[in-house]
């Protein structure tokens, strides 16, 4: 007997319907085949489904079973077809009766017949809503993310036995009641607080501006000056994700399997750290069935790249386009997908390979050629895309103590308050523009929202002549000045804002 069960597959962040057709023929040589371009993980569903059914008390038929995943020309991957295949077999065996209403089945089976957390459930729920399909049968551990979507009935399935009784008029699976309200975290407890870091006031100020406007930052300084600590402390001053942002982020985390079992939405702003051996595909995304890279996992959050110049040149240059566009399109033989990648880059580098160029205490052991090679790794176009450049000097702690003028460093929490205020101003300003922060501004927005007073204009014009700024740098400075003005609560951008913004421009090394 032939049965059709609905399921879905994901390609990038797009969801496509997949019809799972199961036929059990009494005649013919006994066997179990899956067709429709299954990958290895789908191929192995045979053993999982068979054992799970047997362990759930179903007598597995000694017949010819053919499973077709339609449309047959799209490659299928992952373990989410276990549940629809099992349901199809049960229906074909007439062990259960499925209603005529269209419903989605999705999830991985364990050998004992229970269902495991499966990636991509949020996207399935969104797709179901879009297509007007009311019922979803998904693993219980994954139902939290599905429940975020209103207007669909999510049935949290614990095991196959529940399916058997639900569709046989026995005990019903209750519709999942999701969390009542979205629990946005107002308080966060960062692992490193700004007050843990002595001195470095100008770096802290720069990070505050960066966090407020979502600007990319590049920190340069000798080893041990606290670049990594500063970057990590940054997590503590970022505003929480808004509901809309949270959904965007959760989609990426769900489809890439980064959402833990039982989680619903991602609340904390992502803070991703990549080591410099990360491959280009690992960072940008890719693969034959494209999966998101670190830049997409850092969407709406921070991507921290320590030892920036140690990354391979190709990897660094590949960052350029996504940094500009806020998304990355990946084209492979199977098709082209777009992943959002609107991240804030925090990069840290040493001034030279040994790290001590220009250091007062230690001698730099690099040859000028080595230094040149190291510094040219960071190409002009790449550095042009970073709004804020700061120098993080090595500090002499004894000296700091001696001077005794070290103010008690400010706690992250009070810095965060200012950041939140500045973000609020921006959200209100860009309400109708579909962007969130000053760094997202395109030239048309700059024209509209960044009014410089005459003194501000004069100083910027002078700076362009003195430093020979590129057009892109020019606009970056205006964006940073806008953020500085927002932090100060000013409507127009005055000369002091522009002058401070100019301190963070890219410098040619000498």
């Amino acid at each position: 007997m032939l049965t059709k069960v609905m399921s879905a597959t994901h390609f990038g962040l797009d969801t496509l319907p997949v019809e799972v057709e199961v036929n059990i023929a009494k005649k013919g040589f006994p066997g179990f085949n899956i067709i429709g371009l299954p990958s290895k993980s789908v191929e192995e569903a045979k053993e999982r489904v068979k054992t799970a059914l047997v362990n759930s008390g179903v007598e597995f038929p000694n017949a010819k079973i053919v499973v077709n995943l339609a449309p047959a020309d799209i490659p299928k991957e992952g373990s989410s077809y276990d549940l629809p295949i099992a349901c199809g077999i049960l229906r074909s065996l007439e062990a259960i009766s499925l209603p005529s209403e269209k419903m989605f089945f999705y999830g991985e089976l364990s050998l004992d017949g229970s269902l495991r957390h499966t990636k991509g459930v949020l996207l399935l729920a969104l797709y179901a809503k879009e297509r007007g399909i009311k019922s979803l049968f998904v693993p219980k551990d994954s139902s939290f993310e599905a429940a975020v979507v209103s207007g669909v009935r999510v049935y949290p399935v614990e095991n196959l036995a529940q399916i058997l009784s639900h569709f046989n008029g026995g005990g019903q699976i209750g519709v999942f009641r999701g969390l009542k309200e979205i629990d946005i975290h107002e308080d966060i407890f960062p692992e490193i607080d700004f007050s843990d870091i002595l001195g470095q006031e100008s770096a802290k100020r720069a990070l505050e501006i960066a966090a407020s406007g979502g600007h990319n930052v590049h920190m340069q300084g000798p080893p041990g000056s606290g670049k990594t600590m500063l970057a990590r402390a940054m997590a503590g001053i970022l505003p929480p994700l808004s509901e809309k942002e949270s959904l965007e982020v959760t989609k990426i985390y769900s489809v890439s399997g980064n959402l833990p079992a039982g989680a619903s939405l991602v609340y904390d702003r992502p803070f991703r750290v990549s080591h410099h051996t990360t491959s280009r595909i690992g960072l940008i995304g890719g693969g034959s069935n494209p999966h998101p890279g670190e830049i997409s996992l850092a969407h709406r959050g921070v991507l921290f790249l320590d030892e920036f110049p140690e990354f391979s040149r190709g990897t660094l240059e590949a960052l350029r386009q996504p940094m500009e566009d806020g998304e990355v399109s990946i084209t492979r033989a199977a098709g082209s997908v777009k992943f959002p990648a609107s991240f804030m880059l925090v990069a840290a580098s040493n001034p030279c390979p040994c790290g001590y160029l220009g250091d007062a205490k230690r001698e730099c052991k690099c040859s000028p050629r080595q230094i040149m090679r190291y510094q040219t790794k960071l190409s002009g176009p790449l550095m042009d895309r970073i709004d804020i450049h700061i120098n993080v000097p090595a500090l002499d702690v004894d000296e700091l103590m001696e001077r005794g003028v070290v103010k008690k460093p400010e706690r992250s929490i009070s810095v965060r308050e200012r950041v939140l205020r500045a973000r609020k101003i921006q959200l209100k300003r860009f309400e109708k523009d579909g962007i969130y922060t000053n760094s997202d501004m395109k030239n048309k927005h700059i024209k509209k929202y960044c009014v410089l007073d005459s003194a501000g204009q004069a100083i910027l014009k002078q700076a362009v002549n003195t430093y020979g700024l590129s057009a892109r740098t020019y606009f970056r400075i205006i964006k940073v000045a806008r953020t500085i003005a927002d932090l100060a609560g000013r409507k127009d951008i005055d000369a002091t804002c522009v002058a401070e913004a100019l301190q963070y421009r890219v410098r040619s090394s000498d």
Binding site: E201, S202, L357, G358, E500, L502
Partner: protein, 294 residues
Amino acid sequence: MNYQDFEIKSVKIGDKIYPKRLSEIKNSPKRIFYRGNIDILTSKILGVVGSRRMTRYGRNVVKRFIPTLVSEGVVTVSGFMYGVDTEVASETLEVGGKTVAVFGCGLDVVYPPENKKLYAQILENDGLVLSEYEKNAKPHLWKFPQRNRIVAGVTSVGVLIIEAGIKSGSLITARLARSMGRKIWAVPGPIDSLTSQGTNYFIKKGFAKMATEPYDILSMKRTAKREYEKSNLDFFEKKILNLLAREPLGADEISQALSEDISRVSSALTVMTIKGIIGESGGKFFLVEKSLQY
């Protein structure tokens, strides 16, 4: 123009045009190869040596010394290495002087390669490059001290050391020059600077005379006056100026010393930089001298 457009010539010891002073030293090269104008070796020649890892201080010294020396008709000689050598050669050319570069390799090998343009510029400005090696000889570490004896050998005025570490090639050259009976000057530097240890040591031991202005070398008397732009500054900017007059400082240090908000300090620093009153290097701000008047 390219450096290749100038022909390589050679001269043997005993020839009429072989530099006289070079022929008087111990183990003078049997034969030298050169490009450019060899006659300039008969003018007032000052050897300038110094660290490859030059600091901003060394650069300031070059900027203070070379223009005056050139205007007094001095021709500089250096080793064509990066750091002080390169800086001296380009500064000499910039102020319209002539310079001599002594290679530690063949004349068709440009080492360091970044100096290719400088090579051509030296020749275009009626300068000279010379070497005792065949045109394709590769640079080797042992050739550089060898090269130094030629630098010392061709000098007539003497040798000036600008920034040198305690164990450096510059001091080797200076010792060679001393053994040849050449005069040595050294520019003193901060006692905690690694690249001034060698120069300070030479002054302390009496191996070199101290030079704090170009007239020390030309044995003339005049003193330098430091002048900074002071007009057009508001009260706050003047406070920063007074701080920086003592030593270069980072933005954090300035903000601490004045107990002033970092954002205000940053924006004032930008304004002062644009006005050209201060400069910035490696995160430290320093005063730019308005003009060097002697």
